[in-house]
Amino acid sequence: MSAITTPLASTPGTWTLPYRGKVAMACLIIAESAIFTIFVVAYIFYTGKSLSGPMPRDVLEVPIFYTICLLSSSITVHFASRFLEHGKRGGFLALWFLTIMLGGLFLFGTGQEWHRLIYEHGLTISTNLFGTTYYSLVGLHAFHVTVGLIMLLIVLLFGLAGRLGREHTARVEVLSLYWHFVDAVWVVVFTVVYILGR
């Protein structure tokens, strides 16, 4: 019954492997990138192929302010986890809260834009190809922002409850990796939808 468990060689002096959370998040990001790639390809392929209006150049406005909000939240989340690493709880909470506010502001911007498009220009997901591809791509991104915000909020609650310490830095960094990804996707979506697509 006894298993052969004799050490087969002496243990190597140092045996370090990558952190599984980071590897898993990297894998998830690869999978998500593939999903976004397909939506971006669909958007580019259908640019200018709508049979009826409204067209992008008539109704889209470049959301520069909200873009700056989202992109700067990448910086705040990075420094927040640096604060956590050094055990500075106050600084971490402040920057983490700021990240959530910036992300929330971006989401508000998207909502405002959609409201304007739907009520002022009558553009919905079923109006034409532009509507279909635009709402799908931007909506998919907004969905990812929402998921990110929920996770950020959970971490904030843990932080406020005093349950977050330096030992959790690696996990918090996994989450910030996701947040960086969401920002990076926005750079692509922004370029395709608001610059090339117009």
Binding site: Y19, R20, C27, T132
Partner: protein, 557 residues
């Protein structure tokens, strides 16, 4: 095993009610139990989808037969294809990966045990959802049934106008949900391989099965996701009135084909690479030689992983692409044959001069080698655009890909069953029944699929409900149907063998095949924690080192 462990085992064995046992299985996060559940669940679907294949073959046994209606025939081939790919082949391979990868890398579990359970249940409910369509497909509209749009569900067949009711929705959501499960499992497999290896197991010393599953996991991340994206678009079209695949509003049906086959062709390699992995573990053990050309094998697999991402449109030669596209996809499809050929030569090189032991696992491996070679050769024929213009969507194609999936994937899977069953259950599978299973299956397989090339060459299109007499197709269809029944009988013997050997099989012991990888160093079946002490390895064949301390592999690597 320590006395503590013995105590735990006896406590486990001591009279638990069936409810407790069931609760244990439903709530388990143990990679071995989840692996067994994946495999068992896939075997159930294998039988269901096998029945569908038999129904298809009965309908085609002679011209103008009306065993089933054309509508039912459409549902049968759709459900057969969808089930076999998404709910048989993928879960069964994930099951083996789940069971074997942690054992082979000397870990106690996967990197994320709960994610593992979650992924399994996603896949499982995906399969149930697909089959619920037989009952619930009519929905509120009172129209529709099981999906009938083919396993690739080309637009505009899936448009609301042509697919009323919820049949296509069941297909879409079932496939999408199981896709999420696949992505979760593969994230887990990759994280396990990269982060959970036992001390000493550098990438260079990983068993080939682990290497190949790493490549498979990476491919799943990149290939299943486009399918998920395409399914989301289809749902937007069907439920929100979108126009992605709506040609009336400027949408394109061809882009669905692209999105589907960007998933669909790499998927073939997602399925075959774990089978290559089985071959690479079983052939050396039954040839009593280390694998020939380990680094080349790894290189060829990574190469397949990359090249197979750029071959998808060879499924679309007949839709009228530009000549540049045709040339590009012809060339890439032929290039992908090169690393695959390297692998075949590596296995032959392993067998060459070895002391071959022709037990059932090895018989299946040898069957795989021949049949996969032929499947590859017809694949190269079909990769040539002008040839494909003649034979695309004919029974030649059906014969080709069944040669890959049955002659290749299923044969390697049977080899894996006979090889690892002793580890999983602690009992040997019966050799006598195994030989019956093998020979009957070989005969049935060749009777069904060898002849099937010929009606294809004679112009018989796939997915037709019936055909006219006098075109020279009758005899081949008759033979195919007879062969299908023989395969069915062989499968019954296999299932019987699985059941009877569980109770009556010879005790296996830790290492019945005198093998070399870590899973054989622990008891059969392994304890919940796999290894009492985490092993340390110094070469690719740790158990060889242990058994032959005078001549360890580590001296040469």
């Amino acid at each position: 095993m320590s006395s503590d462990a013995m105590a735990i085992r006896t406590a486990e064995a001591a009279g638990h009610s069936w409810l407790e046992v069931l609760h244990g299985w439903v709530t388990t996060v143990d990679h071995k139990r989840l692996g067994i559940m994946y495999i068992g669940y896939a075997l159930i679907f294998l039988i269901v989808a096998g029945f569908e294949a038999i129904i298809i073959r009965i309908q085609l046994v002679r011209p103008h037969y009306d065993f089933i209606s054309p509508q039912v025939f459409n549902r049968m081939f759709t459900m057969h294809g969808t089930t076999m790919i998404f709910f048989v082949a993928m879960p069964i391979l994930f099951g083996f990966a789940n069971y074997l990868v942690p054992l082979m890398v000397g870990a106690r579990d996967m990197a994320f045990p709960r994610l593992n359970a979650f992924s399994f249940w996603l896949s499982a409910f995906g399969g149930l959802l697909l089959y619920f369509s037989f009952l619930g497909g009519s929905g509120l509209y009172g129209a529709g049934n099981a999906p009938d749009v083919g396993w690739w569900a080309y637009a505009p067949l899936t448009a609301p106008a042509f697919s009323p009711g919820h049949s296509s929705d069941y297909w879409t959501i079932a496939v999408m949900v199981s896709g999420f499960g696949s992505i979760g499992t593969c994230i887990n497999i990759i994280a396990t391989i990269l982060c959970m290896r036992c001390p000493g197991m550098t990438l260079n010393r990983m068993p080939l099965l682990v290497w190949l599953n790493l490549v498979m996991g990476g491919m799943v991340l990149i290939t299943i996701s486009p399918l998920t994206a395409a399914q989301v678009m289809l749902l937007v079209d069907r439920f929100l009135g979108g126009h992605f695949f709506d040609t009336q509003a400027g949408g394109s049906a061809a882009i669905w084909m692209h999105f589907f086959w960007i998933f669909g062709h790499p998927e073939v390699y997602v399925l075959i690479i774990p089978c290559f992995a089985f071959m690479s573990e079983i052939v050396p053990v039954f040839s009593r030689k280390p694998i020939f050309g380990y680094p080349v094998m790894v290189g060829a697999t990574v190469c397949i992983g990359f090249v197979s991402m750029s071959v998808w449109a060879h499924h679309m030669f007949t839709i009228g692409m530009s000549s540049y596209s045709n040339a590009f996809f012809t060339i890439t499809s032929m290039i992908v044959g090169v690393p695959t050929g390297i692998k075949i030569f590596n296995w032959l090189g392993t067998m060459w001069g070895g002391k071959l032991i022709l037990k059932t696992p090895m018989l299946y491996c040898i069957g795989f080698l021949f049949q996969f070679l032929i499947a590859g050769l017809t694949g190269i024929m079909l990769a040539t655009a002008p040839f494909d213009w003649q034979l695309g969507n004919s029974y030649f194609v059906v014969a080709h890909f069944h040669y890959v999936i049955v002659g290749g994937i299923l044969f390697a899977l049977f080899a894996a069953f006979y090889y690892w069953y002793p580890k999983i259950t602690g009992r040997m599978l019966s050799e006598t029944l195994g030989k019956w299973h093998f020979w009957l299956f070989v005969i049935g397989f060749h009777l069904t699929f060898d002849g099937m090339h010929i009606p294809g060459l004679l112009g018989m299109p796939r997915r037709i409900y019936t055909y006219e007499a006098g075109r020279g197709w009758e005899i081949w269809n008759l033979l195919s149907t007879i062969g299908a029944f023989i395969q069915g009988i062989a499968t019954v013997i296999f299932v019987w063998n699985l059941i009877i050997s569980y109770f009556k099989g010879a005790k296996a012991g830790n290492d019945p095949w005198d093998a070399w990888t870590l899973e054989w160093s622990t008891s059969s079946p392994p304890p919940a924690y796999n290894f009492a002490t985490i092993p340390v390895v110094a070469s690719r064949r740790p158990l060889w080192d242990l058994k032959h301390p005078e001549d360890p592999d580590s001296q040469y690597e």
